[in-house]
């Protein structure tokens, strides 16, 4: 009995894991109890914007909700990227450009429907005027994705690097064309074209705060809708991949492309479906996030990075990986920006990109295939 209870002997190989574990525990403790609100002047290593969760549970809950709702939008975009990558081993470097194009198309449709020109008060947008832009933009981008796949990628199957370079070329062209042609519906000529920042509007009924009755936190209903859409996409993808024949074929393709094709399954059709759906998800994510924040030329790089980080951290070809990656990345980003020490204008919350790097480095050090990825 004593033998079984004894902990396995620690040796040198466990040292990195212990160090990392200690760091993670420290980070959690820091956010939960160690941090303190900043004094009037200056501050020290314990000073953060809101103090720890114990000091200010309301702010902690808000950041928590910010993270989890952002993860919803992140998941929508990144799951499309992961679907394409998992099945076809195509790193679609144009995913960010597709995202941007989808957002601008939806913006134009919403402007045309409401006839407002540039800035629409949310209260004047009804549910249809949000859904129609979505169902117009998503198929548009799906077609762009399909054309890309059929015209350029299909005959380069298996040449991963060449396919990545092709999608980079397409992303350069699409990004420049966006600058040349969008946004079109603006109130002044100066704001027209040039990829200026614009935003969609959520339907009017989402524009209110929900009283959570916990630590007197009021939270935006629109962000809950965003989370709900993320969860709906996740559940939908899961049902599709695990409960339908097409999904079964796709999972078989992820595991062994050649064997699947040898069984008489039209793998090319499956590839086309994956590309259509993956691109449409980029557009859907753009509609969701552009309603919450905005879209502007240059954000294609940021969303390509978001998708890459989610897939690298979560692992390739798994929707659970994409979900886990999206949640982890959203938490690291939001908490890093709020819970790094702040001792003045020059320090230190702006160092949060390092945390993204640390997240990638840690995951890759222990699991090169990502959290939910399978080796090889």
């Amino acid at each position: 009995v004593t033998e079984a209870l004894r902990l396995p002997a620690l040796n040198r190989r466990h040292a990195p894991l212990l160090v990392v574990g200690a760091l993670v525990v420290f980070a959690l403790l820091y956010v939960l109890v160690i941090a303190s609100p900043p004094p009037e002047i200056g501050g020290n290593w314990r000073s953060t914007t809101f103090g720890s969760a114990v000091h200010d549970p309301g702010s902690f809950l808000r950041i928590f909700l910010d993270s989890i709702t952002f993860a919803g939008a992140l998941f929508i975009v990144a799951s499309g990227f992961a679907l394409i990558f998992g099945l076809m081993r195509v790193v679609n470097m144009a995913h960010g450009s597709f995202y941007l194009l989808g957002g601008y198309i939806a913006y134009e449709v919403q402007q045309a429907m409401t006839g407002q020109g540039f800035s629409i008060p949310t209260s004047e947008v009804n549910t249809w005027e949000w859904i129609v832009p979505l169902v117009v933009a998503a198929p548009c981008i799906a077609v762009v994705g399909l054309v890309t796949q059929q015209a350029f990628l299909r005959w380069n199957q298996g040449q991963e690097l060449r396919q990545a370079l092709i999608t980079i070329a397409i992303s350069v062209i699409v990004a420049d064309q966006i600058i040349a042609h969008f946004p079109r519906a603006t109130s002044t000529v100066a704001q027209k074209f040039g990829g200026n920042a614009v935003s969609l509007s959520w339907p009017g009924w989402t524009d209110r705060f929900v009283n959570l009755h916990v630590w007197s936190v009021q939270y935006s209903l629109a962000r809950f809708v965003m989370l709900g859409l993320g969860v709906a996409v996740g559940v939908g993808l899961w049902l599709w991949l695990y409960r339908t024949k097409t999904g079964m074929v796709i999972r078989a393709g992820v595991d062994d492309q050649k064997m699947t094709a040898a069984l008489g399954i039209n793998i090319q059709r499956t590839f086309a479906i994956a590309f259509v759906l993956g691109s449409a998800l980029a557009a859907m994510g753009a509609v969701v996030w552009a309603s919450q924040s905005n879209i502007a030329s240059g954000q294609d790089g940021a969303w390509l990075l978001n998708s890459l980080v989610v897939v690298i951290v979560g692992g390739m070809g798994s929707i659970f990986g994409a979900a886990a990656g999206a949640i982890l990345f959203a938490f690291v980003q939001n908490f890093g920006a709020t819970y790094l020490p702040t001792t003045g204008a020059d320090c230190c919350t702006q160092y949060s990109p390092i945390l993204t790097f640390a997240l990638i480095a840690l995951v890759l050090a222990f699991r090169p295939q990502g959290l939910f990825g399978r080796p090889g």
Binding site: V172, A175, L304, D346, I360
Partner: protein, 362 residues
């Protein structure tokens, strides 16, 4: 070894061409316009240098790195922080430590190499397409970091660095020829160094790791270590390019290392050819030429650049050229050159055996 008669026809042609090009670029400042020597050729040298770090990793390590532009910028930011002194006119961001420029140069190269080793260590257990993705995240994170951390850079970046060039180079603002020759020497030295490294035991092991990582690992070679060291060397090369860039342009900002710039460097390397080191400079030259002459070129009537149908600007055109190169010749321009000789060889074989030529070949 140095007996030209033992070289193949192709090698003879290539080396003669290289010699001609070398003579031209050494004499260039005497007969070319300043725009050509101080901008186009000088840019070719240091962008080619940076592109060569990408080509080196790709050709000999099967690692296509998108972090080279970030390392290029990191070196520029470090030397900008260390060397500039602020003061009147020093409104740009940065620490303005005002150290000796030579010391700043050494530290910038060393620190960037260390950062490169760190990047390499994180990415070293991945290869191929994963390596590309991981290094791209490094690039974007570095850009964000430089933009957010106003104490070292901020979005406006650092300016006036070309007033703090080491004394042994002199004032590059008044004597741009000096910087031209420094860039030329650096480019030739890096080219020679890469040609040397790939012949050393390390270089040969690296090529083994490129072709058969699993076999090399089972033979007892440390695969991640070789990849990391190669990445460190490439970081050093990219840092050299970055330092020459800030001495030339005087400024560095996150905008010089962002995603479009990262892709531009990749385009240079791919246009030249990812399989041969020479391609880096060929690609950089072609890219810089296009950048200088197409940007304000007349509108292409049928396609309507700057006009009607596409309406895009330079990136659209360079994107289309890049796409065509990738689709038509994955080996880039050097690949076309190589294939032309292959084709010639194949055609030659069909002819009846000709008597061995006794005169000069080629």
């Amino acid at each position: 070894m140095i007996d030209p008669r033992t070289w193949s026809t192709k090698t003879q042609i290539e080396r003669s061409l290289a010699l001609v090009v070398l003579v031209i670029v050494v004499l260039a400042p005497t007969f070319l316009s300043p725009n050509w020597s101080h901008n186009i050729l000088n840019e070719t040298f240091f962008f080619g240098l940076t592109a060569a770090s990408l080509t080196f990793l790709s050709a000999y390590g099967a690692m296509v790195s998108l972090a080279q532009t970030a390392l290029f910028g990191i070196a520029g930011v470090i030397i900008g922080n260390l060397a500039t002194a602020g003061g009147p006119g020093g409104t740009s961001k940065g620490l303005h430590l005002g150290w000796d420029p030579t010391l700043a140069l050494v530290i910038a190269l060393a620190m960037t190499t260390v950062i490169g080793l760190l990047f390499g260590a994180v990415a070293s257990r991945s290869a191929g397409i994963y390596f590309l993705m991981i290094t791209l995240t490094f690039a974007v994170i570095a850009t964000q970091f430089l933009g957010l951390v106003t104490i070292v850079s901020g979005f406006s970046g650092i300016g006036g660095i070309n007033r703090y060039v080491p004394g042994w180079i002199g004032n590059v603002l008044d004597h741009p020829n000096r910087l031209y020759y420094v860039s030329l020497i650096a480019a030739v030295a890096v080219y020679a160094l890469i040609r040397y490294i790939i012949r050393t035991p390390f270089g040969i092991t690296l090529q083994g790791v490129r072709d058969e990582p699993i076999r090399m690992a089972s033979l007892g070679y440390n695969v991640p270590l070789h990849r990391t060291l190669a990445f460190g060397f490439a970081a050093f090369t990219a840092a050299l390019g970055g330092v020459l860039y800030v001495w030339w342009s005087g400024q560095i900002a996150p905008g010089n290392v962002d995603l479009p710039e990262t892709i531009n460097l990749l385009i240079m390397a791919v246009i030249g050819g990812l399989a041969r080191i020479e391609g880096a400079w060929v690609g950089a030259f072609v890219f810089v030429l296009m950048q200088n002459y197409i940007t304000d070129a007349v509108k292409v009537p049928l396609l309507g650049f700057g006009g009607t149908i596409f309406g895009g600007k330079f990136p659209t055109l360079i994107g289309i050229i890049f796409l065509v190169i990738v689709l038509v010749s994955p080996g880039g321009l050097m690949g076309i050159w190589d294939r032309a000789f292959e084709l010639r060889g194949r055609l030659g074989r069909w002819r009846p055996a000709a008597p061995q030529p006794t005169g000069p070949r080629g």
